[in-house]
């Protein structure tokens, strides 16, 4: 992952760190605060592709698609091979309802990146795309069937997002991966505890 250094002409951006750091700065309109915080972050020298991808998420949340795409392009240009950057771009898109764009970004995650593939699968199932999610998770699983943590993460996402059949399969795979590991069993328990806590909270 390489670092981008801002050219000298961008130095005026340093002025974008707000002078007033009091609480009142943060109780204004959330979108305004978000954009100003992102500008303050960008004004520092030494960017990396992942940070740029995260700026894009804030811009999308503020409704500025053009700015988001600008920083996504910068991120990819900086490090076209970094899978986590691709995941973060997909995360930004999917959190704000742009499913096609998210899928395109997730499809660019490296074929051997099991952790980023797992995270992408979780985001897809959260967004109501269970078929694409299952396909993505299967790719991750086939890279390392002993990785119970990834199986558990996806199983939990499936359970909490109305996919009990998928959840059941992946909970089984979680425990098959490491049947004598207390953490694996605990992950299954805590996923169900959260499921019940959320159900209780809705009442």
């Amino acid at each position: 992952m390489r670092i981008i250094f801002l050219p000298l002409f961008s130095l005026p951006l340093l002025a974008q760190i707000p002078k007033d750091l009091e609480p009142a700065f943060f109780v204004r309109d959330a979108k305004t605060v978000m954009v100003e915080c992102t500008s303050a972050a960008r004004s520092r020298e030494g960017k990396d592709s992942r940070m740029l991808a995260e700026y894009g998420r804030s811009y999308l949340a503020a409704g500025d698609r053009a700015k988001a795409e600008e920083v996504f392009a910068l991120a990819i240009k900086d490090d076209p091979k970094d899978s986590t950057t691709r995941y973060l771009i997909g995360l930004a898109w999917i959190r704000h309802g742009f499913k096609a764009e998210a899928l395109a970004a997730f499809e660019r995650i490296g074929p051997k990146e099991k952790n980023d593939l797992t995270k992408a699968a979780c985001r897809l199932i959260e967004a109501g795309m269970p078929t694409e999610a299952q396909a993505t998770m299967t790719k991750a699983w086939e890279l390392d069937k002993r990785d119970w943590e990834n199986c558990a993460e996806y199983a939990k996402a499936a359970l909490l997002n109305g996919q009990p059949e998928q959840a059941a399969t992946w909970f089984q795979r979680t425990l098959e991966a490491d049947p004598n590991n207390w953490s694996a069993w605990n992950s299954v328990a805590q996923a169900h505890a959260e499921f019940l806590a959320r159900r209780q909270a809705k009442r």
Partner: protein, 206 residues
């Protein structure tokens, strides 16, 4: 223990074997109890696993078993801050505010003496976050103040708590903590980015 849970436990084969997928389509409470028993069986003398087992029992409605596990956890290591976070969170999440405050008091009594255990500072911030999302903002704020007193430059705790305030629908309570975070290192891009993302996510947990 309820009949369904008994059946679930009885139906589990040997410790090293895993039930098939059909088991996980059953009653969530039965699954919880069965898994909690496994955790307790695999780690009977470790504080955190026991605290987690207690949480699972409480989620399943097995209060007596939960209290037994919590007590066993603290008996093994009362100075494990993470155990206290798990126990507090369990009481809060499953609707036991009185028990939550009792747990908090135990933690508060231990906290001033925990100079050598850095984990306590972070645990206090986590407890604050749990209480904030559990609709106990006064107690939450007190926890975070305690964490801040021991870690005034620990901005991650501040933004973590601020995020919890947003999640609880209280941005006005997040604001002072975001302010303290950026004041601790105004030129650190990570802090500004963290706050921007907290707002973008509307406080959603990472």
């Amino acid at each position: 223990m309820r009949i369904s849970a008994l059946v679930a436990v009885a139906s589990l084969p040997l410790l090293s074997q895993v039930p098939d997928a059909a088991f996980f389509k059953g009653d969530p409470k039965a699954i919880l109890v069965a898994c909690a028993e496994k955790v307790r069986g695999l780690k009977p003398k470790s504080a955190e696993p026991l605290a987690f087992a207690g949480r699972a029992f409480l989620a399943a409605g097995e209060r007596a078993k939960a209290e037994e596990a919590f007590k066993a956890s603290l008996a093994l290591n009362v100075d494990n801050p993470d155990s206290h976070v798990i126990i507090l969170g369990s009481w809060v999440d499953f609707g036991f505010p009185k028990e939550a405050l009792e747990t908090l008091q135990v933690a508060r009594n231990l906290y001033p003496c925990s100079e050598k255990n850095r984990g306590w500072k972070n645990a206090m911030a986590k407890m604050g976050a749990v209480l904030m999302t559990g609709n106990q903002p006064t107690e939450a704020e007190a926890c975070m103040q305690a964490a801040f007193a021991k870690g005034p430059s620990d901005w991650q705790n501040m933004t973590f708590f601020g995020r919890a305030c947003l999640r609880a629908g209280k941005p006005e309570l997040a604001a002072p903590w975001f302010s303290r975070a950026v004041k601790s290192a105004p030129k650190d891009e990570s802090i500004w980015n963290d706050i921007a993302l907290s707002l973008a996510d509307q406080g959603r947990e990472n």
